[in-house]
Amino acid sequence: MAKRILAMLLVAVLALSLAACSGGTDTSESASDSTTSGDTSTGSEDSGEVDLREPELVTLDIVTMASGKEESGITQVEEAMNELLEEQFNVNVNLTFLPFGSYADQTTLMLSSGEGVDLIAVYMVPYASCATTGQIMPIDDLLEEYGQGIIEELGWDMINCGRVDGELYGLTQGRDLAASEGFVYRLDLAEELNLDMDSVKTLEDLEAVLKTVKENTENVWPVAVSAGENIRNWGWDALGDEMINLGVLPDMAQDTTVVNLYETDQYKDLVTTMYNWMQEGLIQADAVNTTETASTLTEAGTAFGYFTNLKPYYAEENNANLQNKIGVVDNMVPALATTDRVTMGLWSISGSCEHPEAAMKVLNALYTDPEVANLYMYGVEGTHYEVVEEGTITNGQDRINYPEGLDATTTTYRKSGTWLCPNQFIGDIWGLDLPDDYWDATRDFNNESQKSAAFGFSFDATQTPNEIAACTNVVNKYHKALVCGALDPEETLPQFNQELKDAGIDVIIEEKQAQLDAWLAEQA
């Protein structure tokens, strides 16, 4: 009897371990019979003769952000991408999309466990600490060898922003790399209420408009917030982490003295305005707790608008996907280019990636091969989009739109969060509203925006880890709630700053100033 039980247990253990093994090694197809190198139609790749194919079929997990909707079209896109990538590199991809609301949490856990991630857009998690703890790997050599196309696309100025302690860990995207701050609102309501949105230039102007909205509508919040975050930046350079702003250059960042943002008048004025607005019911009452994004609420009709960072043709770009069309109050804070803006989303190779070369090759394709990039960003032609005008865009690509009968809510591969994809500039343009030279206009915007005095400087946070950890806890307690207007600044700000002092913010500011001064001396 006992023997039989033992035997059964052993069988069970064996079966389990076998299952585990077969799950791990997924190299089913061999690549023996393929001598032809990949079809090197990939524009700027200068390794035409070299066989870039991996000796064995490699599967890479690619992680980025999108809407939280369940998307059935992903498999189809994977298949189409695999067809291209298998021929060129003998690589298959596994696409993972995470929603905005949980992106930071989920990617943190992914990166620390190293599971299910090879290529990832590091966004809203402390990039530098990912780098120093080895969660993502240094890519200088890989970039030199397999990423010449990327270098050509981005340029060293932008690439260098991603350095931590002199080493490169992540690549910024082809997207808007500066940002102006402003307000997005629903056109239908503005028209219905006869609001003169063109004359709105400041928060005071906006306040008057919002009050009209409040008075004349029911169950519509004048201002909605995204997952508890109302305004991320209002014209300062956070010199590091925009989520916590420990030691910043305030007031459009032209002076190189690092100060505590939470003690500045700029911050106090902003949160006082927000507090007054909350008191008057202009801001979504449950702002602190909401897990929805403001754009969802606006689209659903329960909000009038929201604050966001802007770029040229913001409304036109988004309206292609919206039922409730939006308008924009731009330049409430003029465009500012900061290192953070460039590094806010970076494509990195995870520290646990077993095939970094393959990952860099795929990344290079995503930056340089319009076919691959379009697939990844917009899906399969004919299924997820159809071509409206062929080749009219100034980069030679097509103008595309939803196919007959599909829209933003019914599509199975939603075009959202494409700004975080590696390179929009080589791809198609979605919708009928954007001009043909939209990508060029964005490039110009990047080049012409006012630059922070510390543009290019990245803070090395590893010198003061304890102070940063302690201060982060304090900031998480107050900052978002203050900017939502949920806390009275008269009471809270002094307390907030006292706790920051106790947690050692002065040490961080001193260290930041020293590093910045050294960097400035180097530049001169």
Binding site: S129, G134, N289, G351, A470, N473, L487
Partner: protein, 312 residues
């Protein structure tokens, strides 16, 4: 001679017990895998972990991962919260559960008894995420029942519940009690049912009224159960119900001072700082202080209630 006889006998005993050992094996393995193996992870708290080098090869940094805990009053706050909330839960929870158990016992209709038992057990079976939204439905400033109906009826100003820390100690205790009392009271009720009816008959003959019966018969009979359950709860006093403290306040920043316990602190440290060594440091702190507390509690119980009442 003697050795020759004992050896086979010992072997025989072992042989006979093999099924029992096998039955014990899964539990032991589980304990080993779930409780003891993870302890090796303690070293993370003393290292500057670089995942590319691996945990073992990373540099040792002594206690520097712990400094941030004690830089602010974080360590104090989370320790205070964890212990005070749990003490409150133990005391109020026991009183509440016993009261309900006695009340249940007084119900004579079999059918009604079953109905009540089911109804009070239901909250225990609801997922904490659902509970957090039930609470939100009550407290939301926009659509909440309390702000829009209850306070309005009294003509009171609406309260922004999720930004006012002062109410939350009460809210959390109420939510906790509501959720667990049904389950706790089952244990007491089971003991109550087991009390020999003879005691009650004797008490009635002596002229005891209902109240006196409860006080002099029921409570003394319940005492061993109360002591065991309380001791077990004290053993876990340094561990908090993550769902209750993280989900129910909806991770609201302004509430952190009163809702942060060690478990939620470790989780937040992990997700917002993305720093596993520091998060582990908070975990080690929890284990060490928890260990000391259990020893102290056990020592205290033995001192007061005699050797046989201690857990070990």
């Amino acid at each position: 001679m003697k050795a020759r006889t004992t050896k086979p006998r010992k072997w025989l005993r072992f042989y006979r017990c093999i099924p029992l050992y096998l039955m014990f094996l899964p539990g032991a393995l589980y304990l080993l895998m779930d409780k003891y193996l993870p302890m090796t992870g303690l070293i993370i708290a003393f290292k500057r972990v670089n995942w590319r080098k691996g945990i073992l090869a990373s540099d040792w940094v002594g206690f520097s991962n712990f400094t941030y805990l004690f830089k602010t009053k974080d360590a104090f706050t989370i320790t205070r919260n964890t212990i005070l909330y749990n003490l409150c839960f133990i005391v109020l929870g026991t009183v509440f559960a016993i009261t309900i158990a006695i009340l249940l016992n007084e119900i004579t209709s079999r059918k009604m008894k079953q109905v009540y038992q089911t109804v009070i057990l239901l909250p225990y079976l609801i997922s904490i995420i659902v509970v957090s939204y039930l609470v939100f439905a009550l407290l939301s400033s926009e659509t909440g029942f309390i702000n829009n109906t209850v306070l309005k009826a009294f003509g009171a100003e609406p309260i922004s519940w999720y930004t006012e820390p002062k109410y939350w100690p009460f809210i959390l205790v109420i939510v906790h009690l509501w959720k667990v009392f049904g389950y706790d009271c089952i244990l007491y009720y089971a003991t109550l049912v087991g009390i020999d009816q003879g005691y009650y008959e004797a008490a009635v003959i002596d002229g005891a009224n209902r109240w006196q019966q409860i006080w002099n018969v029921t409570i003394p009979n319940l005492l061993p159960t109360i002591i065991t359950l309380t001791l077990m709860a004290i053993g876990k006093i340094f561990y908090s119900d993550f769902g209750l403290f993280y989900q129910v306040p909806m991770d609201s920043g302004p509430l952190i001072d009163v809702t942060s316990t060690i478990d939620t602190y470790v989780y937040r440290a992990l997700t917002t700082l993305n720093d596993i060594p520091m998060a582990s440091a908070a975990g080690v702190y929890q284990s060490v202080v928890g260990f000391v507390l259990v020893l102290l509690a056990n020592w205290g119980v033995k001192k007061v209630g005699g050797e046989e009442n201690g857990l070990f």
